[in-house]
């Protein structure tokens, strides 16, 4: 297993990142068994303090915050993952095709990507969400399409580099078809930069969806989601006071979900850093 030897020589930062990503994944997968209370139902009094049985207190509707954090991992991370996968399918397919086919199709696709990238994605997303209304399907589709432009750019550039190689010329002369070329020659050689890009894109999509949820335009209540949890608990911060532990938790209420978002992004970035260094080291 080449991956295992790489793992053994990984720097501590990458190991920490991997461990954190794994922890998030486990929480997301096993949320129904881990969460002590249901996601959307009241479990106690409103604004209960941080003590057993509500270890992180309850929110303004009496819902258990710890349970909502755990369910939030499943919802927020899950939807970001689906969106990133969709953006990648769209972006790499279009990018590899554009590079391999070339000509008018390549020019048209590239200009379309240029136009979509000429405006910040947040502005475009807000415009489209006004029209479609805020639903999860619209959210996933809009962000996937907007984000696929960057994947398109990268995969097209990588594929163009590979397509100048002699073995491609040989395969073309042998009479191999377009899909054989992409699948057997281009894709395996483009894998490393694309994997690193996947991590970076995931971070971006994850932050983007959380930002929209924070603005009240992403995942809608009563779905537990970290972005909306920051929004819901933001008012509490005005009552924060560090003189006692109980009043200090008011200040921590919005920071908890926001911190969960920040920590996962840091962790993914640490892993991506390592993968990038690995793949550039392999090339030398």
């Amino acid at each position: 297993m080449p991956w295992l030897t790489h793992l053994r020589s990984a720097p501590p930062s990458a190991l920490i990142g991997l461990a954190l990503v794994l922890a998030y994944a486990l929480v997301a997968l096993f949320a129904p068994w881990l969460a002590p209370y249901p996601e959307a139902d009241a479990a106690g009094a409103q604004y209960a303090p941080w003590a057993a049985p509500h270890y992180l207190g309850t929110d303004m509707l009496g819902r258990d915050v710890l349970s909502r954090m755990i369910w939030g991992a499943r919802n927020t991370v899950g939807i970001a993952l689906v969106t990133t996968v969709l953006a990648f399918l769209l972006g790499t397919t279009a990018g590899l095709m554009a590079a391999t086919v070339g000509g008018l199709a390549d020019t048209l696709a590239s200009r379309l990507a240029d136009v979509l990238m000429a405006v910040p994605s947040l502005i475009f997303a807000l415009l489209i969400l006004t029209i479609t209304g805020t639903s999860v399907v619209a959210l996933v589709l809009v962000i996937a399409v907007l984000d696929s432009t960057r994947v398109f750019r990268l995969s097209r550039a990588v594929a163009q580099g590979i397509l100048t190689m002699d073995y491609i010329e040989v395969a073309r002369m042998r009479g191999e078809g377009l899909f054989w070329l992409i699948r057997r020659e281009v894709l395996p050689n483009a894998a490393a930069p694309l994997i690193a890009e996947f991590g970076l894109r995931f971070c971006f999509v994850f932050l983007f969806i959380s930002a929209l949820s924070f603005l009240g335009l992403g995942l809608q209540p009563p779905t537990a989601d970290w972005g909306s949890m920051v929004r819901e608990s933001a008012k509490l911060i005005a009552f924060a006071n560090f003189s006692t532990w109980q009043t200090a938790t008011f200040g921590l209420a919005p920071l908890l979900p926001a911190g969960a978002i920040a920590l996962l992004t840091v962790a993914v970035n640490l892993v991506v850093d390592w993968v990038l260094r690995l793949s550039s080291g392999l090339k030398e």
């Binding site: 000429a118 415009l127 006004t130 930002a211 005005a238 919005p254």
Partner: protein, 318 residues
């Protein structure tokens, strides 16, 4: 025609074309609605006569191209039509808020640009030291942290705990400049923290690249002082990439401002945009999107033009 003029004109034309296409997309996006704005306002149960009357009042009976041209020419003079939510002219609604937004972005830029240039220079000079590593670590943090995370930490520290600055950035039209700066300090600081790391890192990279060049080594071998080598030999050549980075980050500020305005309940364009999206007030969303998009495109255009102008190979053709 001199080559530089040709390149400049081409870039300008490309910028104008982008602006035109993007404005068309913003205008025509509403056409993707299942019905049209009239059915959207009156609902499914409206009679055909009231629908037709409203369509005529809104000018919806005109072809899309005519309406687009009307909208764009109106936008150039500050007339964006009427808001659906409160039937007031959008131009008046937006004017104050646009000023507030640009004021906040400008405030952040005034702190962030000199700070990050200085820190980038320092990091380039003392690279591979503890200071340098600290800077690259903070870059990672700044990329990863959502704007509101940074904002709430700052609020907790400086507004709730220390009470130095207000946690709600409320400004009024006739406010004194000093009061205005005080009120917008925390949002500006939030944006500064987020863009500084990136700008700093790019400045460092640009200067480190230049320091490896033979003429810089020559200057060092002549016994020149380190700061003089940087200021006289390296910096003029690093200008193009640095200006580019500054413009890109200013463009980022224009977008980042949306989230920061919501956190601090600042009466700016971003807050209006978010509210209007929730209310599905199409004309206001279109107007705000057009202003944000145009500013973004123009800043990118400016960055490219400055990069072209500061390229000596284009300025002195053989």
């Amino acid at each position: 025609m001199s080559p530089i003029l040709k390149v400049l004109l081409r870039r300008l034309a490309l910028g104008a074309l982008t602006l035109l296409i993007v404005s068309a997309i913003i205008f025509l996006a509403v056409e993707m609605l299942p019905g049209d704005i009239a059915t959207e306002i009156l609902g499914q149960s409206a009679t055909e006569e009231t629908l037709a009357a409203l369509r005529e009042k809104l000018g919806l009976d005109q072809p899309a191209v005519v309406r687009y041209l009307d909208w764009v020419t109106g936008a150039l003079t500050g007339d964006f039509g009427m808001s659906l939510a409160n039937q007031r002219p959008i131009g008046a609604l937006i004017a104050d808020r646009a000023f507030n937004t640009f004021f906040l972005a400008g405030h952040a830029a005034l702190i962030a640009v000199p700070l990050s240039l200085f820190l980038g220079l320092v990091a380039a000079l003392y690279r591979e030291t503890l200071l340098d590593r600290l800077i690259s670590t903070s870059t990672l943090a700044a990329i990863s942290f959502p704007e509101y995370f940074v904002a709430y930490i700052l609020i907790l520290l400086f507004a709730v705990q220390l009470g130095w600055f207000p946690s709600l950035a409320s400004v009024e039209p006739g406010m004194a400049l000093a009061d205005r700066l005080h009120a917008t300090f925390l949002p500006a600081l939030t944006m500064t923290l987020i863009v500084t790391a990136h700008m700093m890192r790019m400045t460092r990279a640009a200067i480190v690249n230049l320091l490896a060049l033979p003429y810089v080594e020559m200057a060092q071998l002549k016994g020149m002082r380190r700061w003089r080598v940087i200021a006289v030999h390296a910096l003029p050549n690093a200008l193009a990439p640095i200006v580019n980075v500054i413009a890109l980050n200013l463009a980022y500020l224009i977008v980042g401002v949306v989230l920061v305005e919501v956190v601090f309940v600042y009466p700016g364009l971003g807050q209006l945009l978010v509210d209007s999206v929730a209310k599905r007030d199409f004309p206001v969303v279109q107007a705000a999107c057009l202003i944000f998009a145009a500013t973004y495109i123009l800043l990118n255009l400016a960055a490219d033009l400055i990069a072209i102008l500061s390229n000596p190979r284009l300025l002195h053709p053989r």
